[in-house]
């Protein structure tokens, strides 16, 4: 059974390809759009907000109290009055940070969608591994007919995803003129054509379903990057 790990796009590779610190919920200092769609990610996001509020309270409350004490020449009443101010500043800071991260996330919508495709791609690799394990356990139940086609599709998709992430990073860094992007987009279009051919050859079976999903990933990448090129050609 071949090891599919080299095909997987790792977290470290994602950081290098995007130039950002990528996690389940964030891209650098920006939230991923998929946070609002997945309950698991939403819980992770909410727990981070609570922790952030805790850290903000640690910084703001004692500082506000110390400033109040200093300004009021040690008046205890003034110190107690400044307590809600410190808590308010902490809540406002946490909210402002969340809004900023959300705004930055909307600015990086394309990258966020591409990262979702990467997640989907990695999940597909896991599905293929499970399928192969099942085949090893009971060879008669599942056919191996389309396996090579699926693996080829995954290779093609990987190449497209890497191309797309590289293009997005270059676009982000240099908004005006990039000659390289035409070559990258041509490569993605060729990969999509390959995927469509592979799907045509392998309609039925579990692998056929995986090929269909691989084609969907390829199409999504193509759709995400199309605006970059159409804008430029106008």
């Amino acid at each position: 059974m071949p090891n599919l790990d080299p095909l997987r796009i790792s977290s470290h590779q994602l950081d290098q390809l995007t130039g950002l610190d990528i996690s389940d919920t964030a891209m650098g200092w920006a939230y991923r759009q998929s946070v609002w769609r997945s309950p698991r990610k939403l819980i992770s996001w909410a727990s981070t907000q609570i922790f952030l509020l805790g850290v903000a309270l640690v910084f703001c409350v004692p500082t506000a109290l110390l400033v109040a004490r200093s300004l009021s020449n040690g008046s205890v009443a003034a110190v107690w009055r400044s307590l809600p101010i410190g808590v308010g500043i902490a809540i406002a800071l946490t909210l402002a940070l969340s809004l900023y991260f959300g705004y930055q996330g909307r600015q990086l919508a394309t990258l966020s969608h591409l990262l979702d495709q990467v997640d989907r791609f990695n999940e597909m690799l896991t599905a293929i591994e499970i399928l192969e394990e099942l085949q090893t356990a009971s060879p008669s139940n599942l056919s191996l007919d389309n396996r090579e086609a699926v693996l080829e599709a995954m290779h093609v998709n990987r190449e497209s995803l890497v191309c797309a992430l590289t293009t997005e990073r270059i676009m982000r860094k240099h908004q005006r003129f990039i000659a390289q992007r035409y070559e990258l987009f041509t490569s993605i279009e060729n990969n999509l054509a390959t995927l469509q051919t592979l799907k045509g050859m392998n309609e039925a079976s579990e692998y056929g379903r995986l090929l269909n999903e691989a084609l969907q990933i390829g199409t999504s990448i193509h759709q995400e990057l199309r605006p970059f090129y159409s804008d430029h050609s106008k």
Binding site: F51, G54, V61, T63
Partner: protein, 226 residues
């Protein structure tokens, strides 16, 4: 709980962690995770030492102890950064922030590891001065270990090829002393962390004058009846 995973990686695989910092890998998530994890551990320890007095003191110390370490860090970090880049450092501010946070996080974990012992003495010994000195000793020990690891870590990530190496090492030592001085004075300003026995809860002590070192000296004298 990926924030705590980052901290465990720092403790378990320090070499690779420092390597990632020097290569600017995932610094944003490291900053956030170390801030969150260290705040929580300090808060737990703060709550334990505050519990020697009252529940209000417990709540107050759970906020004041993390503030003591983290605000000291914010106060001292720009000094380290600007002096270091002046003498040839190529590291950026985020790398300095993570390095300083590794030191504070190590201290927080060590304090947290002492929590059961401190809790034991809190329950079994009824001496305020002893409890106070015990905690000063624990904080001094954990602070020393954390700062020593920070010093070694900084020397590793800057590397032996850095310009003005000897001068920068002296600068680093000076900064460590400065960090200790600022921290202990801020601790004095933020007191009480323990709450004096048979006295009502105070958010701050009314008298602002005096300093930390004089008080430790008075405590030692009082403990030994001098």
């Amino acid at each position: 709980m990926k924030h705590f995973t980052v901290l465990i990686r720092l403790l378990r695989d320090r070499k690779n962690f420092l390597d990632e910092i020097s290569h600017d890998v995932k610094l944003e998530s490291k900053i956030l995770s170390l801030l969150v994890a260290s705040s929580l551990f300090f808060a737990v320890y703060g709550a334990i030492i505050g519990a020697s007095s009252s529940w209000l003191q417990m709540l107050s110390s759970a906020i004041k102890l993390p503030a003591l370490y983290l605000v000291t860090l914010i106060i001292c970090l720009p000094t380290l950064y600007f002096f270091d880049i002046l003498f040839g450092s190529q590291l950026n501010f985020r790398q300095y922030t993570v390095m300083a946070l590794t030191s504070v996080s190590t201290i927080s974990v060590l304090l947290f590891s002492f929590a059961p012992i401190v809790l034991f003495f809190l329950i079994s010994v009824q001496g305020y001065d002893f409890f106070l000195l015990l905690n000063v000793a624990v904080m001094a020990l954990t602070g020393f270990v954390g700062v020593k690891l920070f010093y070694k870590g900084m020397r590793i990530i800057v590397g032996p090829d850095a310009i003005e190496q000897q001068l920068r090492n002296r600068l680093l030592k000076g900064w460590v002393v400065l960090y200790g001085l600022v921290g202990s004075q801020l601790g004095w300003t933020l007191r009480p962390f323990f709450g004096a026995p048979n006295e009502p809860f105070q958010i701050f002590r009314p008298e602002i004058e005096g300093n930390f070192y004089a008080q430790v000296f008075i405590l030692i004298r009082s403990l030994f009846g001098l």
